[in-house]
């Protein structure tokens, strides 16, 4: 049994999905968290539950909405589970009416009844069920209340035939529907009425679908005739708005029967909004929050924890491993591989887990509270001036965690040009995998101002992205159209459990990568550093790794770090940014009592270290990100472009910083 979850954005579909399937998908308090369809298996009954991106209507504007329409047209489903936000019932019902026209069994989950009650809205689920002709189950998806009843309704209710003509569109439209039905009769398994109405509304996906199965000229004739007739008869502006108003009439009738509104108090949300979206304090508040995040990550909590973990890894754990290796009489090769390769490489990455978790906790907090959409609003003016819109800031913030979901999140941006621009620029956002490099270098060179230097790097990434947005949007990606209409969801107090789960969900990817990708990479890199043209166990400066790094090193001299070690770690950084730190730990392998930080001072000056960090920030999207860019843009040209421009801009900026710094007497 296939059941699809569908509803308006930010109505709690994914929360419900997680509750019903026991899986964990990404949730947040903003529109457009889910951009791809996801399939889960029910906990208690047989069947699959399919989570779809939120849509207001089945006639899509953006790519994530298109996912839903495509699903309806090209995939089979037994039942639709429509989630409604009880506090915004009128708007939500527009989608419901379209779903009912689809003529598949529909079950309604009435969510956020508690929010509606707080706003003074009482909804009678029984009456709603009667007017719509389908079962309605009140639920609170966040806490899981009512989910059992929903599961019962899914498994027990035999699919009832739905009331086919809930909305009467007037005799002209109805006649056109019949005419169109005749044309497509026998050519499709979908409801003719549904397809016809969507076609009249200007649904491009349905139009393309018709193009495949029917004579599109005849269909177009029906459409044109209908439009001119309506213009004559009712002086109505457009056919889509005529259809919209007919639906609205029905909804008003349903609302009168089922909902009671009383006066409500000013929600806390509005009071918070007066502060965070304040005329003058909006942007400063955002920057202060960012600064706090970096202080927590790098100064107050993260670094002490990482240091403690590092002490355990390099102390007791390494000693234990050494003792075991000696006890089992492991060969020198195995001994070196484990201690100098794996412990140094994988351990060197794992010590940053505390810092990365704190960063993810903050990002989850931003997403869960409802502040995310406000940031988009506050930033829109700046984004508009560079040819983007405020919504593009959301993928960028997500990109601070990992660029891959950031690029996926760009799907919610409606105009193709702004979406492409956002995809191209999101890799400039400093992801969590780059964080270990900063943590290591600021610890070694800028111990006094850790958080400030790192904040500078993050802000630099944003500024470079904005400047490039301006450059690209006024040269290669010129276009006038831009769209910025954003829903600002009410604030919610984040729940500890969901906060922890979404932090863990993001963070476990980092740990898993350390155990697989970085593990294998560490072995490989260590082998390259252990063997050379002269045999095995060579001096590292004569190893294959030095040879490879040495080819690129001369190019890096002008930007301050022309060593084969730096070059080699940059190459591995393309595979995954974490491997930069793994490689460095292997190359600069240090015995227990001294630290890598101390050793680095021999190879880098503070200026070169800063130049290196800037280069790491910008130089290339990692392999996974590059693959995602290709998948999302579907263009080799833009994928290559995203890699090349990043390399160029990183080199130029590092050159300016290093040479400029030297000019001013900094070293």
């Amino acid at each position: 049994m296939e059941i699809a979850l569908i509803g308006n954005p930010n109505t709690g579909k994914t929360s419900l999905f997680n509750n019903l399937t026991g899986s964990y998908e990404y949730v947040g308090n903003w529109s457009g968290v889910t951009v791809e369809k996801k399939v889960g298996i029910f906990k208690k009954i047989q069947g699959h539950l399919i989570d779809l991106p939120g849509v207001y209507t089945l006639n899509p504007l953006s790519r994530d909405e298109g996912v839903v329409t495509n699903f309806f047209l090209h995939e089979s489903v037994n039942q639709l589970l429509n989630i409604l936000d009880a506090s915004q019932l009128e708007r939500n019902l527009h989608l419901t009416l379209q779903l009912l026209e689809f003529e598949r069994p529909v079950l309604i989950g009435l969510n956020m009844v508690d929010v509606a009650n707080k706003r003074g809205i009482q909804i009678d689920a029984v009456k709603l069920s009667k007017s719509l002709g389908v079962p309605v189950v009140p639920v609170i998806a966040r806490s899981g209340k009512g989910c059992d009843r929903l599961v019962d309704a899914i498994s027990t209710k035999s699919p009832e035939p739905v009331n086919k003509k809930l909305v009467y569109y007037g005799k002209e439209v109805e006649a056109a529907i019949s005419a169109l039905s005749k044309e497509i009769d026998g050519k499709t398994e979908h409801s003719h009425r549904f397809l016809a109405i969507q076609y009249f509304e200007g649904n491009e996906y349905v139009k393309n679908y018709f193009y495949e199965i029917a004579d599109s000229e005849k269909l177009n004739l029906i459409l044109v005739n209908l439009e001119s007739e309506l213009k004559k008869q009712y002086a109505s502006k457009t056919l889509p708005s005529f259809i919209y108003l007919k639906r609205k009439e029905t909804i008003v009738k349903i609302m009168a029967e089922t909902a009671v509104k009383s006066s409500s108090v000013i929600p806390l949300s509005e009071k918070i909004d007066r502060i965070v979206t304040n005329k003058f304090f909006g942007i400063p508040i955002f920057l202060i929050l960012m600064y706090l995040m970096f202080m927590l990550t790098f100064d107050w909590i993260g670094t002490p924890l990482s240091d403690a973990l590092d002490a355990i890894l390099t102390g007791p754990i390494t000693n234990l491993l050494e003792n075991v290796l000696t006890a089992i009489h492991a060969s020198d090769f195995i001994h070196a591989l484990i201690i100098q390769g794996l412990v140094a490489g994988v351990g060197g990455v794992l010590v940053f887990v505390p810092q990365i978790f704190i960063l993810f906790l903050f990002i989850s907090l931003l997403e869960d509270s409802g502040y995310m959409a406000r940031v988009a609003l506050v930033m829109d003016r700046i984004m508009e001036s560079v040819g983007l819109n405020g919504k593009a800031f959301i993928p960028m913030i997500i990109g601070f965690g990992c660029n891959v979901p950031g690029i996926m999140a760009a799907r919610t941006i409606e105009t193709p040009r702004e979406r492409l621009l956002t995809i191209l620029l999101t890799p400039l956002m400093s992801c969590s995998a780059r964080l270990p490099v900063y943590a290591l270098f600021v610890g070694a060179f800028f111990a006094g101002q850790r958080a400030l230097i790192v904040l500078c790097l993050y802000v630099l990434g944003i500024i470079v992205a904005l400047i490039l947005a301006k450059v690209f949007s006024s040269t290669i990606l010129k276009s006038e159209t831009s769209l910025f209409v954003i829903e600002l969801p009410p604030y919610r107090l984040p729940q500890f459990q969901s906060l922890w789960r979404s932090t863990w969900d993001k963070g476990k990817g980092f740990i898993r990568k350390a155990g697989t990708f970085i593990f294998a990479g560490s072995v490989f890199i260590w082998l390259l550093s252990y063997a050379g043209p002269g045999g095995i166990n060579v001096d590292m400066d004569r190893s294959f790794l030095a040879l490879i790094g040495g080819v690129i090193a001369p190019v890096l001299v002008p930007i301050g770090f022309g060593t084969w070690q730096a070059a080699a770690s940059l190459i591995t950084g393309f595979l995954a940014k974490e491997s930069i730190i793994a490689t460095m730990n292997i190359i600069y392998f240090v015995p227990n009592d001294s630290s890598l930080q101390g050793l680095l001072a021999n190879y880098y000056s503070p200026l070169a270290a800063f130049s290196f960090m800037v280069f790491i920030l910008l130089y290339i999207p990692c392999l996974a990100t590059t693959a995602t860019i290709y998948k999302e843009t579907g263009s080799k040209k833009w994928t290559v472009f995203s890699v090349v421009y990043a390399l160029v801009i990183a080199y130029v900026l590092s050159l300016i910083i290093y040479q400029g710094g030297k000019l001013f007497g900094l070293v």
Partner: protein, 74 residues
């Protein structure tokens, strides 16, 4: 006109036809159309977007689009 509205003032939308097609569609999706009552919540500086409330939900739109919406005070 929206441009003369101060935060906290309420109005009724009379005409949306001058607003760009895409924005009109999105507003319609959010249930805002001719006849809807709206309240200006806050106005961002330097010609930034404005935040309006309608039927208990808040929406951000750009100033230049907002001024094309014809509104009368209520």
């Amino acid at each position: 006109m929206f441009s003369s509205f101060k935060p906290g003032e309420r109005g009724k939308i009379v005409d949306l036809s001058h607003v760009s097609h895409l924005v009109q569609r999105r507003l319609l999706d959010l249930g805002i159309t001719e006849g809807s009552e709206v309240c200006v919540k806050c106005v961002m500086p330097f010609g930034g977007p404005i935040m309006i409330e309608s039927c208990g939900q808040c929406i951000g739109i750009r100033r230049k689009e907002a001024v094309q919406i014809e509104v009368v005070k209520v």
